[in-house]
């Protein structure tokens, strides 16, 4: 959708609960993408999505540890999950390069989300927390960029299938 509003959390606990929910949603979406690609026998990309899911799970666990929670409270407002990968870009013949591009896009959106949130938080401790989350996302972006440099960009025609589901006419 072209626009959606982000409601600023009112307390630090709400902010972190929101961040936790976003990370968990990313875990689920990466897991689903891994399942989809495994179903379509693209095991290499499935494994990469599983790795990305486990990374997001680590970030979620880190939020629990920081807050001293055994279980995160339900956030009062669930925004669209900017850290979650968009499923619409998946393709059964996709390469790791595509998966990393999807992940990079999601991390960039998450970075922008927390940056916008930091600007809207009036309390110092909340602004600092949002800035820390923003910095975490920046680190993820850097990491993904380094991974991207290590995988070759697929050649033109990567999605050509000798027995496609849809024949050109």
């Amino acid at each position: 959708m072209k626009s959606h509003s982000v409601q600023a959390p009112r307390t630090l606990a709400e902010l972190m609960a929101q961040a936790y929910a976003l990370e968990r949603e990313a875990v689920e979406r990466y897991g689903e993408l891994a399942d989809v690609l495994a179903t379509h026998n693209n095991q290499e990309v499935a494994a990469l999505f599983r790795r990305l899911a486990s990374q997001e799970a680590m970030h979620a666990t880190e939020i629990l540890r920081t807050m001293g929670w055994t279980r995160a409270p339900q956030p009062p407002h669930l925004p669209d999950a900017p850290a979650a990968p968009g499923p619409e870009e998946a393709h059964y013949l996709m390469h790791p390069w595509h998966a990393l591009r999807i992940a990079l896009d999601a991390e960039q959106k998450a970075h922008d989300f927390f940056a916008a949130l930091a600007q809207r938080c009036e309390a110092d401790e909340m602004r600092l927390a949002a800035q820390r989350l923003q910095a975490d996302e920046r680190e993820h972006i850097t990491l993904l960029q380094s991974w991207l440099q290590r995988v070759p960009e697929p050649p033109a025609g990567w999605d050509e299938d000798p027995d496609p589901p849809r024949y050109p006419h």
Partner: protein
């Protein structure tokens, strides 16, 4: 029920989460299909309304979208092509205590099941009808459906069908649906909110979900840039809603009409006999 009556390890006071409504069966659709996010939106919506999975039934017809019941932990019925609403109506009338969701696609719902669609709107039984509209028959490899644009050029309809597209929202409104909304599969949380609103609203709730078919209609990926929140909130004035729906760009997202018709309750001539009494009449 697929695999869960009560989620293991969930204490009575703990809220249901979307995961509680998912089955162990992994969905099989094309990678990138909008139906994945519709499934997630359905499970999120059920978590929002907090109905236990065993008090929910998901009924479907035939097609890609109709695979959904198997992917939920609710009771499910994967029915006959175009007849999901007939089965769901019978279920809801017999078991009004259940929350009944009906899942369909534009071919199943508007072509094969078109007549059932009209009369389900008219009867106003308390159902939530979700139609995943991708403007094509995906499962059977790309034939034009009732909502396909007349000039969509494909191998199976060279130059397009030349046939005017079906307008499901305004038809639902004219036929008497009590709740009419449009959602977009690419916006999972808004879709979940709309489905939850449809479940909560009494009577027949019709939710058209634009769900891209990345295999046969890859150009629909552009929908994420075309969809936008409806500029105004829902109205309870059917004439006003009809005018808005007829003149919008087809990409307004949100609840567009929420009426006040009382849901079907059996009518004045409804049988008053118990199920046991009726069954005894068939005893040999």
């Amino acid at each position: 029920m697929n695999d869960m009556c009560h989620p293991p390890g969930l204490a009575a006071a703990e809220p249901f989460t979307p995961l509680h409504y998912k089955s162990a069966t992994k969905p099989i659709w094309c990678p990138g299909c909008g139906d994945y996010t519709v499934l997630n939106a359905v499970t999120k919506a059920l978590a929002l309304v907090q109905r236990p999975p065993h008090e929910v039934a998901v009924v479907s017809g035939i097609g890609c979208s109709s695979r959904i019941p198997a992917y939920t932990s609710c009771y499910g019925f994967h029915g006959v092509h175009g007849r999901s609403l007939a089965a769901a109506t019978g279920l809801k009338v017999a078991r009004p205590d259940l929350t009944v969701l009906v899942a369909s696609g534009d071919g199943d719902g508007y072509s094969i099941g078109g007549n059932h669609f009209l009369h389900a709107c008219r009867r106003n039984v308390d159902l939530t009808y979700i139609v995943m509209d991708n403007h094509v028959y995906g499962m059977t490899k790309g034939q034009a459906s009732p909502t396909t644009e007349p000039d969509w050029d494909s191998k199976l309809s060279p130059g397009g069908t030349g046939v005017r597209s079906f307008h499901p929202l305004v038809i639902a409104l004219a036929a008497g649906a009590n709740f009419v909304a449009r959602a977009f599969a690419g916006d999972q949380n808004t879709t979940a909110d709309i489905i939850a609103a449809g479940i909560r609203h009494p009577g027949f709730s019709f939710i058209e979900i634009l769900s891209p078919c990345v295999t046969f209609r890859p150009e629909q990926k552009e929908w994420k840039n075309l969809t936008h929140p409806a500029p105004v909130g829902p109205t309870d004035d059917a004439a006003r809603a009809a005018k808005r729906i007829m003149t919008d760009d087809g990409f307004n997202i949100g609840v567009l009409y929420a009426g006040h018709r009382a849901p079907y309750s059996g009518g004045p001539g409804a049988p008053t006999r118990s199920l046991q009494e009726m069954e005894s009449a068939f005893a040999l």
